[in-house]
Amino acid sequence: MRAYFNNIFTALITIFVGMKVTLRHLFTPSVTIQYPDVKLPLPERERNRLYVNMDDCIGCDQCARACPVNCIEIETVKSLPGEDLGKTSNGKKKALWVTKFTIDFAKCCYCQLCVFPCPTECIYMTDVYEFSEYDRNNLIYDFATLTPQERQEKIENFRKFSEEKEKQKAKTDKSE
């Protein structure tokens, strides 16, 4: 009998205690924000969409090798002896034409492993996090600055150059 009334009593009391808590919260200001209108400031270490500063990229392929999901694809073509590709901002000499530098953000896992090995700090994470697309192919970002014709040209140039070299080599071989 005592347990019976005790049950009723504790049930009512705990319900009232709970109701007090929720009533208090009814009048506390909300912790959420109106997202697309209001946005929270992001911390400076925010890890979101990658960005590659191609001016500094030397095409060393280290980021692609560090990537655990293979979302970075880099193709490079050696520059010809006469060509000057300029220098990176921290003084490294560029020696490769980067004909292809794509990052597939549908695959990217935002782990930041590609950022650390970069010798010129040209690949880094930005705070852009709204980049949804209707088509998955649109998520493949191409960072290479060369136009398609230029790329073709560079590849062609290098092919010709190496053929020439090959011929030269053959010639020298023959002559010897």
Binding site: N7, I15, V21, T22, L23, H25, L26, S30, T32
Partner: protein
């Protein structure tokens, strides 16, 4: 009564009857459902430190309108193995049950669909139709979760009808009338005349009655809460167990019908509580219309007070919903059969003894 008024106005009992029948639906249930759904979401939001709907209209006030439009547009999915006939009737039947109850709810001394002599009894009877509709929906869905939900719901509503009726009986015994109009009229326009505070008669009984009336009020509130399947008694549609119970398979307007019925029911049971214990449509502090000598103001004030009290109790239902976990099915039955019914019986007995003193 509104029927007589319309009968005089139009001269045709048929038109008057039709208008009287439709009035609660268009003047009250639909606007109330629109309002209550928004209120529910807003209350939930603010209690959880959120804001609730904010996009459609100022602070989201048109959100439910948008939802209704969405629901109307939605495809009405009927699965291949559903029992098509029953599947289509069930939501209508459920809504009809809760709609019929509104015929006897006294919104004010004028706005009262039918002054049935057995008003309160009638409301309890027609809500029985809801059970049949729910069972029908659960069975016709041909889904195990729906069937379990429907079974639980039926068992729950039937068991909680008993404490409700017992408490109603104690009031009926005290007053000798079952008409909601008479009940409301007898608790004249000051709050100390409410049955919650012992009724309108100033005698020693009034003070003796107060604690037992309070118990009766708690019991009827809890059991009506269970009858409309609200937390902590929302076992039939417990989303974490039964996905959403008997309306799992419903979509579009049929789902909206269940939803509408649920909200209409919420108000109907609050209205019962208000009419029985809290003076019905009577104002707690006297009427402005009497003070200013404007007669037509009084019914409006009464309507305001009735909806205000009703919506307050709907708010309490929501408040409870966002506070409490839900019971288990056997605990639910235990709560009714072991706690509410015996206490209601004793309460009835004691009120009986006091009333013959």
């Amino acid at each position: 009564m509104i029927y007589d008024f319309l009968n005089d106005l139009t001269g045709s009992p048929f038109i008057a009857g039709t208008i009287t029948a439709l009035l609660p639906l268009f003047a009250f249930i639909l606007p109330f459902a629109l309002f209550a759904v928004l209120l529910e979401r807003k209350v939930a939001g603010h209690m959880q430190d959120r804001l609730g709907p904010m996009r459609v209209g100022y602070h989201g006030i048109l959100q439910t309108v948008a939802d209704i439009i969405k629901l109307i547009q939605k495809e009405d999915i009927i699965a291949r193995n559903n029992d098509k006939l029953l599947f289509n009737i069930a939501p209508v039947l459920t809504f009809a049950g809760s709609y019929a109850a509104f015929a006897a709810i006294p919104f004010s001394s004028v706005f009262l669909g039918a002054n049935i002599d057995l008003g309160i009894f009638y409301i309890i009877a027609v809500t029985g139709l809801v059970v049949a509709g729910i069972l029908m929906a659960g069975w016709a869905s041909n889904n195990k979760y729906s069937l379990l939900g429907a079974m639980r719901s039926a068992a729950q509503i039937i068991s909680y009808e008993i404490p409700t009726i017992l408490v109603v009986l104690s009031i009926v015994m005290l007053t000798g009338t079952m008409s909601l109009y008479d009940l409301s009229e007898s608790q004249t326009s000051y709050f100390w005349n409410w049955y919650l505070l012992g009724g309108p008669e100033f005698e020693i009984q009034k003070f003796l009655l107060i604690p037992f009336m309070l118990i009766g009020f708690l019991i009827i509130y809890i059991s009506t809460l269970a009858e409309v399947n609200r937390t902590p008694f929302d076992i039939p549609e417990a989303e974490s167990e039964l996905v959403s119970g008997y309306h799992t398979e419903y979509s579009g307007m049929k789902f909206a019908m269940f939803f509408l019925a649920e909200y209409a029911n919420m108000f109907a049971v609050s209205a019962i509580v208000v009419a029985l214990f809290l003076g019905g449509y009577q104002s707690p502090f006297g009427y402005l219309g009497n003070l200013l000598n404007i007669n037509w103001l009084i019914p409006l004030e009464q309507f305001f007070w009735f909806t205000f009290k009703g919506i307050f109790f709907v708010f309490v239902q929501m408040w409870l919903r966002w506070t409490l976990p839900r019971l288990r099915v056997d605990q639910l039955m235990a709560a009714s059969w072991k706690y509410l019914i015996p206490i209601a019986f004793f309460n009835l007995l004691i009120i009986g003894i006091i009333s013959i003193l």
